[in-house]
Assembly symmetry: C2
Homo-oligomer: 151 residues x 2
């Protein structure tokens, strides 16, 4: 029955602008990026500046387009266990949507300046949502043991 669901079409609502063109060695935490939203949607950002953090959904356009193997070593690190890709954050998955929660430094018109977005220059953005700790951050979450070596 899942196979029979019709395909879904998305349109980018913005694009990431940053000097970063590949994963920085020291990680993404301090990377500052601009998200340039389609000008026709500027007004839809009104009120976002009242939130300190936002959720960014983006399209990982540089992930390989060949079919993802069902199980992988996270980040290609052979010392981490072979794991189904749905149990990792690998970009090589059927729908290559990335989800990041980042600090909103500034909103100016249709441009959102953010810190910590792990997306390279030119990445298409497909949604922006306010981060709501009471809804988005359950307490006492348990993770797989290999995660401590990963983050």
């Amino acid at each position: 029955m899942v196979e029979k669901l019709p395909p879904i079409t998305l349109k980018a609502i913005g694009i990431v602008r940053t000097g970063v063109t590949q994963r920085p060695e020291q990680g993404w935490q301090k990377v500052v990026s601009d998200i340039v939203i389609n000008g026709s949607l500027t007004e839809a950002l009104d009120g976002l500046e009242e939130f300190s953090h936002i959720i960014v959904l983006y399209w990982m356009h540089q992930a390989t387009s060949r079919e993802a193997p069902l199980k992988i070593h996270p980040r290609g690190r052979k010392e981490l266990p072979l794991t189904g890709f749905f149990a990792t954050r690998s970009p090589n998955r059927p729908n290559r949507i990335g989800k990041a929660t980042v600090r909103l430094l500034q909103r100016q018109g249709n441009i959102l300046r953010v810190e910590g977005l792990d997306a390279i220059d030119g990445t298409p953005v497909i949604d922006i949502k306010p981060y709501l700790p009471g809804y988005d951050a359950p307490t006492n979450a348990k993770v797989a043991p290999w995660i401590t070596e990963y983050c």
Copy 2:
């Protein structure tokens, strides 16, 4: 330049099965649902059972298909301020992707039993990710004042 980005096509990887066909009066927190993943992807779920919580991206297929007004009263409640839709979690947005973080009660083959998923029966699922508090839950997040009346 945003306008020139090519459209993106998604394929559902699963479907929500639950007795719930509309938003319950008492909220979604206690609703138990099954996410039935496409059988060909079963192995890609291996390792997910080591996480207590997962992120579900789903397609809010019942949102109105007419173009979203740029500013809305959250949940249609006139006492809440007129707010750009990107500053709300309204389903009426250009790309109708919902993002929920839910408790994983059980994984059995290609079926994930979860608690708290705010999606009605038949909702197409487009991605599953492990919830990583160190990455997904920033500390000291500030929200708009109207949120306290909303959640």
